[in-house]
Amino acid sequence: MTALLSSPQSCLHPLRRQFERIMAATQDVKGKGEGGDQNFDYMFKLLIIGNSSVGKTSFLFRYADDAFTSAFVSTVGIDFKVKTVYKNDKRIKLQIWDTAGQERYRTITTAYYRGAMGFILMYDITNEESFGAVQDWSTQIKTYSWDNAQVVLAGNKCDMEEERVVSVDSGRLLAEQLGFEFFETSAKDNINVKQTFERLVDLICDKMSESLDTDPAVTTGAPTAKLTDSAPPLQQPGCNC
C-alpha cells in the first residue's frame, strides 16, 4: 500500500459517535502531502438509489464528468466516482456510489448503505412505477443506513415534459411526507444536477454542526469550524423547462 493509505489520522474533527464510526472508515484514505488534490478535510459517502433506468448513472456522469449519453448501459452491481467540492474553505471529497436498481443486486447494494451519509433517491417523472417504488426505497434506507443519513428525492428526466406522468406537486408532496428535500432534475439538459448534490452536502454539514452543538463533550479543544456559515439560498425545486 502507499503512504497515502497508511498515513495516520491526525486531525479529524471530533464528531458525534455515529459520525466517528462512519468517518473511521474513511480515515485511512485521508491523507496530507501526497500532492494537492489528495488533501481534504472531509470525505462524504453518498449513494444514488432508485429503480433501474431512472437515470442514476447519467446523473452521476453529468455531475462528475459533465457528459451525457443516450445509450442505456445497465449498471452491474455498484460503482463509484470521486468529486471534490469546496465549502467555506473546506475541501470535501465526495465518494459517490452508483447502484444498480434491479432486485438481483439488492444484497450487494444494501451492503454499501451502512457507511453512507447521504442519499439521492431518484425516480423518473415519465415512469409511474419508478415513482411508486420511492416508498420502498425509502424503507430500504431506513433499514440499512444509519439514522442521520440525509436524503434528497430527485424526479429525473424533467426535460421530457411531453411524457410526464408524475406531476411536480405529487413529487413535492411525497418528499414532504417522507421528510426529504426535493428537486426535479435532468441529467440530459443539466438541470438541478449540481444543486441536488450541493443541497445534500449542505444537509450533511448542517447535521454535523448540529451534532457538534448538541454534544459539547466532544467539541472540547476542537476547532469549531462551522460548515453552515453562509449557506447558499435554497434553490427552486421545480424544473424550469
Binding site: 484514505v29 460503482d79 444484497t107
Partner: protein
C-alpha cells in the same frame, strides 16, 4: 445499439473488414458442428433475426467466445526478442474483449446477450473484468450472468507486479482497494456472484495454464462458495485444483448449452477449454 451491419448497405471498407473478420473465423474443431462451415458466421448474420431457436443463439454466442479465445491465444506467448516492449497483462484481456465485442455486435447479439466491461473501480470492487448477461425482454434486465475474471500465468503476474511496484495509483483506485481490502480478488468475484444467486456464475478464465501455457481454459461455477466451507478461503490454488480432478473439458458451446438448459437452483461447475 441496434444498428445492423448488413452486407448490402454498409460501405466498402466495412464490408471488406467484416468479410475478412469472418474469414478469420475459422472453426478450430470442424467436427464441433456439421452445419458449420467457415462461412457460417455470415449466414448466421443473415439469419440472425430468426435466431430465436435457442440452439442457433447458443451457437452464435459460443462462436463469438471461441473466436475471441482463438485470437487472444495468438498473443499469449508473445515476447519481444529485444525485451523492451512489454505489453501489460491488461492488454491481453483487452484483445479478448475487443474481439468478442466486435463479433457480437456484427452478429447483432448485444440486445439479448450483452457484455459489460467493468470500470477500473468495479474490477477491484467486484473482482470481475467483464460480465456477460442474458437479458430479459423487454426490460433488458439480466436473467443469467457470467462474471469473468482473467488469470494470467503466475510468472507473468509476478513480473508485472515487479514492474508496476511503486508506480502511482489514482485516488479512486486506492479508494476501491480500501473498500475491498478484506478480500482477495477471487473471493470478491465469488462473493459478488453468491450475493446474486445461482443464476450468476463466476468464470475464472486462465490465459495459459501451468501445464499448457498456450491455451485458454476456464473454471465456471455458481457454487464456489461451497468450497469455502472445506478450505478456509478461496485462492488460486483452490481454483487450479479443479483442473486436477478433471479429464473432461467442455467446449464454449457445451458451456453455454449447459448453462441455458440447467434448472434454476441447481449447482453447476464446469471445466472448459476455450482455444
Amino acid at each position: 445499439m441496434g444498428q445492423k451491419i448488413s452486407i448490402t448497405n454498409s460501405n466498402n471498407t466495412q464490408d471488406s473488414r467484416f468479410l475478412s473478420f469472418l474469414k478469420r473465423f475459422s472453426p478450430q474443431k470442424p467436427s464441433l458442428d456439421k452445419n458449420m462451415s467457415p462461412r457460417t458466421g455470415m449466414f448466421a448474420k443473415l439469419t440472425a433475426p430468426s435466431a430465436n431457436k435457442p440452439n442457433d443463439f447458443t451457437r452464435l454466442i459460443s462462436n463469438s467466445i471461441s473466436f475471441a479465445s482463438t485470437r487472444t491465444k495468438e498473443y499469449l506467448l508473445f515476447k519481444d526478442p529485444e525485451g523492451k516492449f512489454q505489453p501489460s497483462l491488461q492488454t491481453l484481456t483487452q484483445v479478448f474483449l475487443m474481439n468478442y465485442i466486435t463479433q457480437s455486435v456484427n452478429l447483432d447479439l448485444t440486445d439479448t446477450f450483452n457484455c459489460t466491461a467493468m470500470t477500473p473501480e468495479q474490477r477491484i470492487l467486484l473482482g470481475a473484468d467483464w460480465v456477460w448477461a442474458i437479458l430479459k425482454k423487454p426490460t433488458k434486465n439480466p436473467k443469467i450472468q457470467i462474471a469473468v475474471q482473467v488469470l494470467h500465468l503466475p510468472e507473468r503476474e509476478e513480473a508485472e507486479e515487479r514492474a508496476t511496484a511503486g508506480k502511482p495509483i489514482s485516488e479512486s483506485i486506492q479508494m476501491a482497494q480500501m473498500e475491498s481490502r478484506n478480500k482477495n480478488m477471487y473471493e470478491r468475484i465469488v462473493d459478488f456472484c453468491t450475493s446474486i444467486g445461482k443464476d450468476c456464475y463466476a468464470l475464472f478464465l486462465f490465459f495459459g495454464k501451468r501445464d499448457d501455457k498456450v491455451n485458454i481454459y476456464g473454471v465456471l461455477s455458481n457454487n464456489f462458495e461451497a468450497a469455502v466451507g472445506k478450505c478456509d478461503k478461496i485462492d488460486r490454488a483452490l481454483i487450479e485444483n479443479f483442473f486436477k480432478g478433471s479429464r473432461y473439458f467442455h467446449t464454449p458451446f457445451g458451456m453455454m448449452q449447459t448453462i441455458f438448459t440447467k434448472k434454476t437452483e441447481e449447482a453447476l461447475t464446469l471445466m472448459i477449454k476455450f482455444s
